[in-house]
């Protein structure tokens, strides 16, 4: 999955899409995921990074990441 190239991410979790003017807020975990995506990490690398960084299990990461990615697609924050 690729994030929109020009998507602006702030360390506060504020996200701005300059093409549409839409803005969003994400929590620290969401911001981590967006930053990893922005740095070109694969979905597997992101899963591993989350499992290393947070006390959670593989299934929870899998499910939450799936939901988060779907939401990014629905909000048109990704590109092919």
């Amino acid at each position: 999955m690729n994030l929109l190239k020009n998507l602006a991410l702030s360390d506060t979790g504020f996200v701005f899409n300059p093409a549409t003017g839409d803005s969003f807020s994400v929590n620290p975990i969401g911001l981590d995921i967006l930053k990893l995506l922005k740095n070109g990490k694969s979905e597997n690398e992101i899963r591993k990074s989350l499992l290393d960084a947070y006390q959670t299990d593989k299934e929870t990461v899998e499910k939450d990441l799936y939901d988060f990615f779907k939401m990014l697609e629905q909000l048109k924050l990704t590109e092919q």
Partner: protein, 348 residues
């Protein structure tokens, strides 16, 4: 840099809930790096808030309504020019532009510069002529038709389907979802602005707008795209944010290269989910949100005045994306004496 002292006449002081562009234009001029501007407000109604905003408007004169004709306007401007020695006038209402365009050579001979579209440019972008305009300059336009009677709504509704957009010839537009609504809007809008009414096919998508300035030779001197982020019940922007929208910039460049637009303008477009752009309106003057352009790095009012005074200027290349404007309302306390002066003597 030494700033040049100039006097600029500006209309559109109606800084109300459906604001005119006058005050935002003046704010750009007041922030100019090239000019110290004395601002002469030109008003139509004693209740235009700008008349009483003495921190931005130095003096105001009432001028006759556009319906009074060119001669009446010229006589009044001659008087104002005698008092104030105007260097430039910036008209900001669609309805007054015809008279100012017709008078621009006379005004020039008096020493007053303007920077207006030609009559042909002004006429061909009328709402009623928009489909032909789109075809001529390769810009997609929703189907639309001009009508003079309510009876014509039914046949157009059959062709366009509901919802459809009912528009006035100068201002106002409402989306009608049924024949009853379409007829009600026809009556309401024609009662206010007269006939014809324009019926336009509804195009679903996001409205994006662009404020621009053409140099009259085919170059876009400046352009800033914006999306409204808060809209009033009159459909006016109460807040907005600048966008990075290369496609919209290309459309503006294409239009200005094609018709050699001279002066300020606003493109109102719909961007569909498939990233197609449909032109819904071209306003032949700056929009009321033009101060967002100034705030994001492109002072279009200043650039217009420089071109009106014969300067060649380099087009703006950049603006800040993600710059917002948020309007507010403000109760001014006005002495009755001031209202008396503008109402009785036509000057304040």
């Amino acid at each position: 840099m030494t700033k040049r002292n100039i006097t600029v006449g500006v209309t559109g002081l109606n800084n109300i809930d459906s604001p005119g562009p006058g005050i935002p234009v003046i704010r750009g001029l007041k922030e100019s790096k090239h000019f110290n501007c004395r601002i002469i407000g030109l008003s139509y109604d004693a209740m235009e808030p700008g008349i009483y905003m003495h921190e931005v408007v130095d003096k105001t004169y009432q001028i006759p309504l556009p319906s009074a004709g060119q001669q009446s306007l010229l006589t009044r401007l001659e008087y104002i020019h005698q008092q104030e020695k105007l260097d430039v006038i910036i008209p900001n209402f669609d309805a007054e532009l015809y008279n100012f365009i017709k008078l621009q050579d006379t005004l020039k001979s008096m020493g007053i510069s303007t920077f207006l579209p030609t009559l042909e440019q002004f006429e061909e972008r009328h709402k009623s002529a928009l489909p032909a305009f789109g075809e001529k300059y390769g810009i997609k336009v929703p189907k639309s038709r001009m009508i003079n009677s309510m009876a014509e709504i039914h046949s157009l509704a059959y062709e366009f389907g509901y919802p459809l957009v009912v528009k006035g010839k100068f201002y106002d537009a409402s989306v009608a979802y049924s024949p009853d609504q379409a007829m009600a809007y026809f009556n309401k809008i024609s009662g206010k602005w007269g006939l014809p009414i324009i019926i336009q096919q509804y195009t679903p998508g996001t409205e994006v707008n662009l404020t621009g300035l053409g140099d009259g030779k085919g170059k876009l001197t400046g352009a800033v795209p914006m999306r409204k982020t808060y809209i009033t019940d009159k459909g006016k922007a109460w807040a907005g944010v600048t966008l990075e929208d290369r496609e919209l910039m290309k459309i503006a460049e294409k239009m200005v290269a094609g018709n050699k637009w001279r002066g300020g303008f606003e493109l109102e477009m719909i961007r569909t989910d498939r990233n197609e752009y449909y032109l819904i309106e071209i306003n032949p003057r700056f929009p009321a949100w033009v101060h967002l352009a100034t705030g994001s790095g492109q002072n279009h009012p200043e650039a217009l005045v420089r071109m009106a005074l014969g300067e060649d200027i380099n087009p703006y290349k950049r603006y800040e994306v993600g710059k917002m404007f948020v309007r507010y309302s403000w109760d001014q306390i006005v002495d009755l004496k001031e209202f008396e002066n503008i109402s009785t003597f036509g000057e304040l």
